[in-house]
Amino acid sequence: MRSISSAPRTPARDAALVAIFAGFVAALGIVPAFTPPGFTVPITTQSLGVMLAGAVLGARRGFLSLTLFLALVAVGLPLLAGGRGGLGAFMTPSVGFLVAWPVAAWIVGWITERGGPSYKLHWGVVANVVGGIVVLYAAGIVGIAAVAGISVGAAAVSTWIFLPGDAVKAVLAAVIARGVHSAYPGLVRGRRRERETSAV
């Protein structure tokens, strides 16, 4: 097992990881989502997948994975929470959140990679909060304001209800990522070593 995980990462392995993780984010969409009255965006576990993509795969592969996921949605697969999908998903007021997923995963991964060779829980939470909440909300709020024709301030007010849930998700994603990294070493660390040796 160790020999598998510490095997050198190649473009083909990276492609497989990117594709499988897109499938993982899709699988999270099957966990039922709901849109309570007064909520502007459905509560889903898919944003957990966004944080996990960056926290587990790192910046580059996390970004590619979410980009692939959005492409699969765009070509007509009902992969978003609640069985939504297709091009219509990109016309709704929550489009800002959707298109920012790859960027959010990239930022979570970028910060995670800078946390040292072993995954630290508190550092992971910081990465998830910055990428999965701060950056994601900024893009999402701009999207709501643009599509709905309302001010950025009003759009921001409409999203505050999700903060408690997303804060829980940021901690949960870090706990899960720590479990994955200890069960399957060499994911982010492996890339770092590779880069260092190739630099020499």
């Binding site: 083909a12 497989a16 594709a19 692939l68 219509g88 007021p93 599509v147």
Partner: protein, 200 residues
């Protein structure tokens, strides 16, 4: 999950139109929508799109399914505009959101996922100059489509294993083994890709 995605089989004019053409019309409509600012213009646009559903013989049920998750969000936006004193603006904004979502859903429902993938690969062709390999994009989409049922299958295995051991539902005890299994599957998939000469 069906491999057909959201595609609704049929042989109408809209089904037979090229995917690229339909995407072009949709993009043009999206851009043109900014110019509409009277209630009757929006009503005409909505009528044209609903006419498209009739032409494509898509059951009304399917159209409703795509718009229903938006009801609360769009309702709130309408309320906001009414409160700030403009009935017409409320109608224009919410009507346009509904029109564009329905139009995009119509494109998705009349276009096979495979045709859409081909269209995406075609759109990537000019990006060859900036280092994007269109064939690689096509391969990634195919891998991604295949990965969704794979990870859903793995999720069922993990859940069964949990149940057999009598564990209660814990997100961590579910997500960590699921991700680790997915990563192992990705390694095997990566080896298969190497064996097929995907690595340069």
């Amino acid at each position: 999950m069906s491999v057909l995605g959201l595609y609704q089989p049929g042989g109408t004019v809209l089904h037979r139109a090229r995917a690229g053409t339909k995407l072009g019309v949709m993009l043009a409509a999206g851009v043109a929508s900014v110019l509409l600012d009277h209630w009757w213009q929006v009503l005409v646009a909505l009528g044209v799109v609903l006419g498209g559903y009739a032409v494509a013989r898509i059951p009304a049920r399917m159209a409703v399914l795509q718009v229903r998750p938006l009801v609360w969000m769009v309702g709130l936006i309408a309320l906001f505009h009414v409160l700030s004193g403009s009935w017409e603006r409320a109608f224009v904004v919410t009507g346009l959101i509904a029109t564009l979502v329905l139009l995009a859903a119509l494109v998705t429902m009349t276009t096979r996922t495979t045709d859409m993938v081909d269209a995406v690969v075609g759109l990537c062709r000019p990006l060859r100059r900036v280092g994007v390999d269109p064939e690689r994009v096509g391969l990634m989409l195919a891998l991604g489509i295949r990965s969704v049922p794979v990870v859903v299958g793995l999720a069922e295995e993990v859940r069964d294993a949990q149940r057999a051991r009598g564990l209660t539902a814990s997100p961590r005890a579910f997500a960590v083994p699921l991700i680790v299994r997915s990563l192992r599957h990705a390694d095997a998939l990566g080896d298969a890709l190497v064996a097929r000469g995907v690595d340069d």
